[in-house]
Amino acid sequence: MQDVKEFRPKIVAFCCNWCSYAGADLAGSSRLSYPADVKIIRVPCSCRVNPLFILRAFQRGADGVIMAGCHPGDCHYTSGNYFARRRMTLLFSMLDYLGIERERTRVEWISAAEGAKFSKTMNEFAATIAALGENKRLEDLRCKN
């Protein structure tokens, strides 16, 4: 029997600099914890998130990818998150169409004032990914050994 390692999901969170990253800071300064499996990448705006980045994360072994941005209408750059929303809607729908678990990708709008929401969202998402288990459908085994 091989030793079975406890599954620790890898989760990449793309956070826009103005709202969600600040929301993460607020979660931090309010000591609202969320699993260490969540690692944040700062981008200027959710509209900077290229579908390529999301696929790349899955390739490299991520089990879940979440993108967080300002609430629609509150984008620091006026309209960035509206474009991001369309892009992600289409991308997620396509991933679903290809049979890749829909729940592995998520978009949330988290303002700079919503530290609690940030923490809650990340806890929820991490739990969802933990329940789904390892990402098998978009993995690149070369990156796993």
Binding site: P51, Y82, R85, R86, L98
Partner: protein, 323 residues
């Protein structure tokens, strides 16, 4: 039809409207036509062809031809005119350099269908009314045109020319219920596991020959990111299932909102992967999420990913088995 086109092309060369004509050139077996430039009446007389096997969408060649100087005449089928408009919208071609002759199309034949039906050793194919008479080294065979109709033409979305300077034959109408999303809907109705199996089965055959990309009139990048070593995502042959998925997802996304559904990708795939089902998924999603939109219908229309509504649906609401 072919003779009318040939005659008109010769006239256009003669009257100086254009200095070359883009059309289809005869091959060895009637079905293997090659897109070609005709510079003289002699060339046209000798090898210009237009029939049920003139399948290639010629619009993409205009990107290159517009840079060559001199006005070019081109024959475009209805579906090709959508690609033409899209290229115009994206400033890839210059309208004033091109003389468009819209040609009627009642669907193109797919020689693979004949071969799948057991007809081999084909030496020539003639059209006789509603039938193709196929000469083979094993004798003549007659096939109903409808039975040889290419997959993409079964769900023809439009027989209407979106752009032309003149028409040969008649322009039809947009087909309201083309059924082109039927297969997409069937896939959507499957479970995620079934869909995954379906696409693995299809995409695992991909040999990354890039025929789909290189024929695609929406893929006119100066250099594809997959060919650009500086992009960080360049690949050649797909090493594993991830890379197969990656290439096709990104390519489909890249043409999302720009794909005119001309069907060339699936036509040229040597492995017969139904790539159009990826593009049609995006077209269907755009239609249902953001309102009806067909790339290439109106070159002035704003593409769906270049605009937004404040109350667009959330990504979380997309996907899943929607009723």
């Amino acid at each position: 039809m072919q003779e009318l086109m040939k005659k008109r092309a010769i006239e256009l060369l003669a009257d100086g409207t254009c200095d070359r004509v883009l059309g289809w050139e005869k091959g060895d077996f009637a079905y293997d036509q090659t897109p070609a430039l005709f510079h003289t009446a002699e060339e046209l007389r000798a090898s210009f062809v237009y029939n049920g096997f003139s399948a290639a969408n010629l619009s993409k060649y205009l990107v290159k031809e517009c840079r060559a100087g001199g006005k070019i005449a081109v024959f475009l089928k209805p579906c090709d005119t959508y690609s033409f408009n899209q290229l115009l919208a994206e400033h890839r071609i210059k309208r004033e350099m091109i003389y468009v002759i819209g040609v009627a199309c009642d669907g193109k034949a797919d020689v693979e269908k004949l071969k799948d039906a057991g007809i081999d050793g084909i030496t020539d194919i003639r059209e006789e009314g509603e039938c193709y008479v196929v000469s083979t080294i094993y004798g003549d065979k007659t096939v109903k045109k409808a039975e040889a109709l290419a997959e993409r033409c079964l769900n023809c979305k439009s027989r209407k020319h979106m752009a032309y300077d003149e028409l040969i034959g008649e322009s039809g109408e947009v087909v309201p219920n083309s059924g082109r999303f039927d297969m997409v809907e069937q896939l959507e109705a499957m479970t995620p596991d079934e869909r995954y199996e379906f696409w693995r089965g299809e995409l695992s055959r991909c040999i990354r020959c890039n025929a789909c990309r290189n024929v695609c009139p929406a893929c006119t990048c100066e250099q594809c990111i997959f060919d650009n070593p500086k992009s960080g995502v360049a690949q050649k042959a797909a090493v594993n299932s991830f890379e197969e998925n990656m290439f096709h997802i990104i390519r489909a996304f890249h043409v999302a909102g720009r794909c005119t559904d001309c069907g060339e990708c699936s036509r040229v795939c040597p492995e017969h992967i139904p790539l159009h089902l990826l593009n049609r998924k995006f077209i269907k999603d755009v239609n249902s999420f953001y309102g009806e939109y067909q790339a290439g219908e109106d070159p002035a229309a704003r593409p769906p990913l270049g605009r937004y509504e404040k109350n667009d649906i959330e990504p979380g609401e997309a996907g899943g088995n929607r009723a």
